[in-house]
């Protein structure tokens, strides 16, 4: 269903937004305020985020990939490293201005639920939230991977839906090319 037609209520949604760039953080915050999210917590570094993650339980984490010092990937790994942590299975979106295939796969392997291409666009952010909210995905804890279950079954495509893996196959020819949000979404099922 098109998220533009879906009804949302973010009054009880707690979101942690991690971005070292004040401008990037402002854009994301304003988008979330526009969505009527009432509980937005900001962190300007991975260390600040990790300190908050120990104390507070969140419904969603959005982390910038590139930050001075420990980056967004390290935040994801830290969250997924502690099965007893209060945010162990929380949905995590990695935000990237360079969503190349290798960066997306790195995010996926770290345990991210989704990659958001920057600059943030309200409709894209809402679509991503809607996608995660609508699907109850299993979670895998193993020695080498901790994160959402990536397996999916291949069945006949619904009417009007085009094959998305064709884009992925094309990407394999140029793994360092920055991808569109649609191409990124195809990698996350």
């Amino acid at each position: 269903m098109n998220p533009a037609a879906v009804r949302f209520n973010f009054s009880k949604t707690r979101i942690l937004a991690i971005d070292d760039s004040p401008q990037g953080a402002d854009i994301l915050s304003q988008i979330l305020v526009g969505f009527c999210v009432e509980q937005i917590t900001k962190a300007a570094s991975a260390e600040e985020a990790k300190a908050k993650l120990v104390r507070e339980e969140f419904n969603l984490i959005i982390a910038d990939d590139k930050m001075p010092g420990p980056d967004g990937y390290s935040v994801i790994k830290a969250i997924r490293a502690d099965p007893k942590g209060i945010n162990y299975t929380v949905p995590i979106m990695l935000a990237s201005a360079r969503p190349t295939k290798s960066n997306c796969l790195r995010a996926r392997d770290a345990g991210a639920n989704y990659v958001l291409a920057k600059p943030f666009v309200p409709s894209v952010v809402l679509s991503a939230i809607h996608l995660i909210a609508s699907i109850n995905r299993e979670f895998v804890t193993s020695d080498n991977y901790r994160g959402p279950d990536r397996r999916f079954r291949i069945g006949p495509l619904p009417a009007g839906v085009q094959e998305r893996r064709a884009d992925e196959l094309r990407l394999l020819q140029a793994p360092e090319r920055a991808m569109s949000q649609d191409e990124v979404s195809a990698l996350f099922g």
């Binding site: 879906v6 209520n9 526009g34 699907i135 193993s142």
Partner: protein, 155 residues
């Protein structure tokens, strides 16, 4: 022995799916877009500061340009992240080309001074002409893309 545990955790975002009295996504998107638009003036100042950094590095010798390529890439990336919301879409796309050039240097060892300087000149041109007709802007961006393709830089 390796093992895997698969379980279904609670979905903490499920409660965000609202009921009949809650606003629809389209209205939330519009509200968010308006709030982002209000950030425009501040974002444009930030973009101007980053362009000044790019131009300062570009004005130096080739050796300095090479040595400062990380700083150049960081400034261009900062432009990419905000140019669209600042209402400077083509400028952001121009900056994205510079990021691709710097990434190509770091990841592939591809270094073409003149091509990089051309990208920086295009960025300056977009900055000086924010009202450039979209068709002309698209042509310049397509030419830059063709240049990158020609020298083996992957976007």
């Amino acid at each position: 022995m390796a093992h895997a545990r698969v379980f279904l955790p609670p979905n903490p975002l499920e409660a965000a799916l609202g009921g009949p009295e809650d606003p629809i996504g389209a209205s939330l998107e519009l509200r968010a877009a308006e709030l982002v638009r209000a950030l425009g003036p501040g974002l444009r100042i930030h973009v101007a500061e980053q362009i000044a950094i790019v131009e300062r590095i570009a004005a130096a010798s080739e050796d300095v340009l090479f040595a400062e390529s990380h700083a150049l890439g960081d400034a261009a990336l900062a432009i990419c992240e905000v140019a669209g919301p600042a209402g400077l879409g083509p400028l952001g796309e121009g900056a994205r080309g510079i990021v691709a050039m710097v990434d190509a240097l770091i990841n592939q060892g591809v270094w073409h001074t003149e091509a990089l300087r051309l990208h920086i000149a295009a960025l300056a041109m977009f900055s000086a002409n924010p009202g450039l007709p979209p068709r002309e802007a698209a042509r310049v961006l397509a030419d830059l893309q063709g240049l990158r393709d020609g020298i083996g830089v992957l976007d």
